[in-house]
Symmetry: C2
Subunit: 351 residues, 2 copies
């Protein structure tokens, strides 16, 4: 299958873009985003979405950054895609929020792209029914790096799925294709691009994976990259199945505790959890924690380990968890409760 | 937890050794197998199994191999473990069977260990109730190598589980610990070992993973090795769950076709398979193929792809598969049939 067809099929199968949507492409001027511009430009009529491109200048590099901006503007104009130049000050933002330059750039880039997308959509009320999405040009090589990065850091099955094709309003249509396919398509069509300046943003770890580990893997097996991508997909499917089973079990054995329409706790029979396979039990606990505390940014393996052990404790056992959540065993039931600020203040006064 | 305790718990949890068993340890004289000798020797009274050690001389190296044999004999005798020296001719065997030296050595080594174990058990009829098993000293680093090797080659979820703790009468009690733990235990106790000569048997690919990729991964994250092992475990659990679900579905929707007590085919409703998640459908097809053709050594991804596509074909669709198996769609049913030699000869005569 041709490179463009693979991407088109991926967009259709995952429903990344629908009729009436407004897509803002993050255009760095590098090969990947230039290729994505070409593809989306070709598809916009057929899938009837509105396409814009934005180039974010991070305020880090000088002359070279200006040339990247001008190049991006020219190529967008050449393909008649409305172009937005965005200027941000990453060094200042990073200092102010105590972030590394890379993390600061990432946050500020996405924030400014979202703002730009909102403005575009506000100015086109006739498109009010469609969704707005940011398209980024991460591809199969980036995905393989992500998978290995998570494998070495230990992230559970979730991390091994790699980046999602669509998440939080960001779509990644190039995930099913490889860098070399992008480069050969561009060179075949005689389309110029800038050197991928964003690559230099990437961390030390990512660079080592890209420059040392992946080439070694490809020496061992010429298909190493697609094999890693296929594995990530399989793991994603397996995790989806686990989540589905966990939902099913919670639906049967668990209950939401509501007060005034607000969810303040969950309960589930301990006896229904104990005989489950560890991985399924764990997925169910993960699911429960997510319902109670969406985002769950302070939860780690250590908390799930403790919660899993609690399941095998007797009546009265208690555990404090992140984000003001407590877990208790009460008469053969596990209760996960969210405590409001007031309750926890009361608790403090008593002591 | 101490290294020895981790291994002991692993043996107990996985029930690798039971009372009355006869364990034949493959003792190369390298650090790993010497450490396993010490551990098993310490456990044999408590778990009441009978322990033997065998050293296989491959007939490849000269003087050095003799020294390995003598070292192995001495250390076994020192710990009062009955010792068996086995001599095989790998170069001759490999030539005769058109195998690479490494593959030949592996086959011949396991074959001679099995023969040795049988002889030991024949001579001890009082142990007739116990099982005989071969213990090999592959550890966590070997497991991480295996996982990466399979990740790069593309092996589906099964390969990513790595080596199994017990398979085909071979047990691997050291999988939960790392090489550095083994070396530090041996040095603490002042126990000598030979340089691991088996390492030199290993293929180019394995060597590259061990020497180039794993150290790089550990540079990125000091816990990379345990993280890879934990991931393999999670993937194993997820696959077990998939297999269990697939068994359940086949139990409900499928049927075995028997004649004279012999299984010659399987059938299952196509309509029950089509709506399943691809990974579950695939697992079910894998399960069916294994029932009909245990071992399935000639089956590859391409056959399962074809079989999966067949499910979405109309009545009358047909597919030839490896090992004299055919698949047909007949009135909303998928039938997998095994053809005997006679049937296929008849088929040939007709043409």
């Amino acid at each position: 299958m041709k490179t463009g067809e693979k991407v088109e099929r991926f967009i259709r199968e995952r429903r990344l873009i629908g009729a009436g949507d407004t897509i803002l492409l993050a255009l760095s001027g590098g090969a990947d985003s230039v290729y994505l511009l070409l593809l989306l430009e070709k598809l916009r009529g057929e899938l009837s979405f509105s396409l814009h491109a934005a180039h974010v200048q991070h305020g880090i590099r000088g002359k070279e950054a200006e040339r990247d901006l001008e190049f991006s503007r020219e190529i967008a104009e050449r393909f008649k895609v409305p172009f937005h130049g965005i200027f941000v000050n990453v060094p200042e933002f990073s200092r102010k929020h105590h972030l590394g330059l890379e993390e600061g750039a990432r946050l500020l880039r996405y924030r400014s792209l979202r703002d730009c997308l909102s403005e575009i959509m506000d100015k086109a009320p006739e498109r009010a029914g469609g969704r707005g999405k940011i398209a980024v040009a991460q591809h199969g090589n980036d995905q393989a790096e992500t998978v290995l990065y998570h494998l070495f850091r230990g992230s559970g099955l979730r991390g091994l799925r790699g980046m999602e094709a669509e998440k939080d309003g960001i779509i990644r249509p190039l995930l099913p294709i490889l860098k070399e396919e992008i480069l050969s398509e561009l060179s075949e069509r005689g389309i110029a691009h800038r050197e991928d300046s964003t690559n230099r943003d990437l961390s030390y770890a990512r660079n080592r994976i890209r420059e040392r580990i992946l080439p070694e893997a490809e020496r061992l097996n010429a298909g190493a990259l697609p094999h890693i991508l296929r594995t990530a997909e399989l793991i994603g499917e397996a995790e989806d199945l686990l989540l589905e089973r966990a939902e099913e079990i919670f639906g049967k054995e668990g209950e939401e505790l509501l007060e005034g329409g607000e969810l303040w706790g969950l309960r589930i029979s301990v006896l229904s959890l104990r005989p489950l396979r560890p991985i399924l039990r764990r997925t169910l606990l993960l699911l429960m924690s997510e319902r109670l505390s969406p985002g769950r940014k302070d939860w780690g393996a250590v908390h799930f380990d403790a919660l899993d052990r609690l399941l095998f404790s007797g009546n009265g056992a208690h555990l404090d968890l992140p984000e003001k959540i407590t877990a208790d065993i009460r008469g053969k039931e596990l209760r996960l409760l969210r405590h409001s600020e007031v309750l926890s203040m009361k608790g403090r006064k008593k002591r």
